[in-house]
Symmetry: C2
Subunit: 144 residues, 2 copies
Amino acid sequence: MFSKACEYGLKAMISIATKSEKGQRTNLKEISKDINSPEQFTAKILQQLSRNKLIHSVQGAHGGFEIQKENLGKIKLIDIVKTIDGDKLFVGCGLGLNECDASKPCPIHHRFIGIRENLTKVLSETSLEKMSHDVNGGLAFLNR
Amino acid sequence: MFSKACEYGLKAMISIATKSEKGQRTNLKEISKDINSPEQFTAKILQQLSRNKLIHSVQGAHGGFEIQKENLGKIKLIDIVKTIDGDKLFVGCGLGLNECDASKPCPIHHRFIGIRENLTKVLSETSLEKMSHDVNGGLAFLNR
DNA sequence: CTTTAATCGGATAATTTTATCCGAGTTATA
DNA sequence: TATAACTCGGATAAAATTATCCGATTAAAG
Ligand code: FES
Ligand code: FES
């Protein structure tokens, strides 16, 4: 479904959000421990998220990563997925035809688009804020 | 969503089905032309499908691939996907936790399982027969 | 029996994805 | 101003996926 990079990216964003929600800043070491991911690979993904303004990075001692509190409700999971994996999952053909086109559909098209739209809807509606609330409330986990 | 190998596998199966439905046997060259896929890579996937008894292969001149007519309605898309990509898509955690476990769920779990079940349902209900009817009837396409 | 048209399957190559290394830059603090 | 704790980013390595090569085998047909 998602690439490994995207899975790490989603978990990292949620991890950062759980701290930002409490006004705390976190850093690479803490994040990758939190989500059980390879540190340097995670660093690359955080850079990418930072360049795309989804997170704010602070260099130097006591630096790290944070998300503006007012953005916690605005950033949706789909923003993260699109930043890392692009939008192929949301607009591409499930069988890999050059493009998904209802006027010349692949055999699974009509059955597939419902699923795709549902996925798009769920990821578009789910904010980081909800995710981090669930984790901070002990209802969900980033590591197991 | 699916790997390239799996996309080719699904399309190849449907291509074979369109011929088998008409009592014809097809072969590698024809299939990969039909679905616009690299010949030798497609050969590997067909071997895998053959070893798993989803298709029947015939060696020698005038050989090729075919699907028993009585199987066209029995083989479902999910059988093909599981053969090539395994069942991770259907049972694995969307965020890549070691396993998907509702008692210690990842943050997207409750939103994700609905989509996953829908996908499982659709692929479990869709037979090769339906797919090949659509293609033979000009309602769907394997190549564009 | 020979030729021809196929699949089989092991080996290799190319590409993409995942992961690591390390030197340079940045900033708080002693 | 020196040191320690960070991120940045380019280079490289490892692993997985995708793709190709080619000799062996099989079987139909002349
Ligand atoms: S054409 Fe294949 S999913 Fe739309
Ligand atoms: S635990 Fe992640 S999808 Fe179920």
